[in-house]
């Protein structure tokens, strides 16, 4: 999946010499004064240079690609937006995910793989908390369904944007390509949700099926 450019063939991230102890000692970056700051350089995605691509095609289009390339079906997608003056800037996926699942009669446990973009680890935790809060989902997404337990153990199994880096416009292709590869290794019929939150109060979510 990674091609060498200018003699570089490996990601810079994650820092291989780090540890939980070192990460715990990092100071908050965005709230340095209240004593309640949570976001550090260790749990925020780093400023990153990079490029990524993915193929999108019909059956005919896929026949033009080598059979060895992992491929899965894009079943459906959803976009959402929130009011950034009154709601969390990066919370739009918490509206989009329930709408997408409800449209297909799916619960959280029906999804074998969750790839949730991490601008910040705290934002992912906010998403999970929101997704598990039935009242929050009802108010924000307008969905009455109960989706059950959120299976955290199926989320970002090979690392997300905090670990891998986040070149803004490349992240969509990176996370989808990664999800395709991971999902293609799961049993036939397995499904994945791939989610990205964006500045401006925006969010996009894809439902994939092997």
């Amino acid at each position: 999946m990674i091609i060498a450019v200018d003699g570089v063939d490996k990601d810079h991230f994650p820092h291989r010499d780090t540890s939980l102890e070192k990460l715990a000692k990092l100071k908050p970056v965005f709230d340095r004064s209240s004593g309640r700051g949570t976001l550090t350089a260790g749990n925020s995605s780093p400023l990153t240079d990079g490029a990524a691509a993915i193929w999108v095609g019909t059956d005919e289009g896929m026949n033009r690609l080598p059979a060895r390339l992992p491929r899965v079906r894009l079943v459906d997608f959803e976009m959402a937006a929130v009011d950034i003056f009154t709601e969390g800037l990066l919370m739009a996926p918490v509206s989009a995910i329930p709408r997408l699942l409800a449209r297909h009669g799916l619960n959280y446990e029906d999804i074998a793989l969750w790839e949730i973009h991490e601008a910040f680890s705290a934002q992912v935790l906010c998403h999970i908390k929101g997704l598990q809060d039935r009242d929050f989902v009802r108010r924000k997404a307008g969905i009455e369904n109960t989706f059950g337990r959120f299976p955290r153990e199926r989320m970002n199994p090979n690392g997300g944007s905090v670990a891998l880096g986040h070149p803004f416009a490349a992240t969509g292709a990176r996370i989808l390509s990664q999800a395709v590869k991971e999902l293609a290794g799961l049993p036939q019929g397995s499904r994945a949700i791939v989610s990205i939150c964006s500045d401006g109060g925006l969010g996009t979510v894809a439902l994939l099926e092997h």
Binding site: F30, T38, D49, A52, I54, L74, F85, F168, G172, L176
Partner: protein, 183 residues
């Protein structure tokens, strides 16, 4: 989805992801994209029907980055290529756009992706200073140029430095996320 045909995603390639001001500091969004697009094109055994590309940090030298990348890669110039932006969702929404444009007797295969060259983010002039400079260049006499000097406001003489901040709130994503975490 309205497409009457199944739409498939096949995994693509990417550059290594490296720290800002690191080994790709000499490559802008255009030249950092080319190796990826060339590696993708080398995989296709047949036509690529169109391309979608994007970058969140803009470059003053070009607006349709996708087209510039395609031409710089010396691929078939008859292939349509367009640029899309939706912040961190840019290349995901590019996939959604592509999915909606595929169909029988239309396009069958699209190459979609994105790039970010944070190391080469351009610093520009404020809009008012840019407009003022254009008028100075258009002036036909020294007298006109001197008169224009009187119209220049001190607060407009500054650079526009791109920041990872929301324009309307003036706050960074990190500051917003701190609020989310505390709520």
């Amino acid at each position: 989805m309205t497409n009457d045909q199944a739409v498939w995603l096949a995994s693509g390639v990417r550059t290594p992801f490296v720290a800002v001001d690191g080994p790709f500091a000499k490559r802008d969004s255009l030249t950092l994209s080319v190796p990826v697009v060339l590696a993708m094109a080398a995989e296709a055994n047949g036509a690529i029907d169109f391309g979608v590309w994007g970058s969140v940090v803009l470059n003053l030298a070009y607006n349709n980055l996708a087209r510039e990348v395609w031409l710089e890669s010396k691929l078939d110039p008859h292939v349509p290529t367009f640029t899309t932006i939706m912040q961190c969702s840019t290349s995901m929404v590019g996939v959604f756009e592509a999915a909606g444009m595929l169909g029988e007797k239309r396009a069958a295969l699209a190459l979609v992706g994105g790039v970010e060259s944070m190391s080469r983010a351009q610093i520009g002039l404020t809009e008012n200073l840019s407009v003022w400079l254009r008028r100075v260049f258009q002036a036909r006499s020294m007298k006109q140029r001197i008169e224009l000097l009187r119209t220049l406001h001190l607060h407009d003489i500054r650079l526009h430095v791109p920041e990872v901040k929301n324009r309307v709130t003036g706050r960074s994503m990190g500051e917003h996320t701190e609020d989310m975490a505390k709520d």
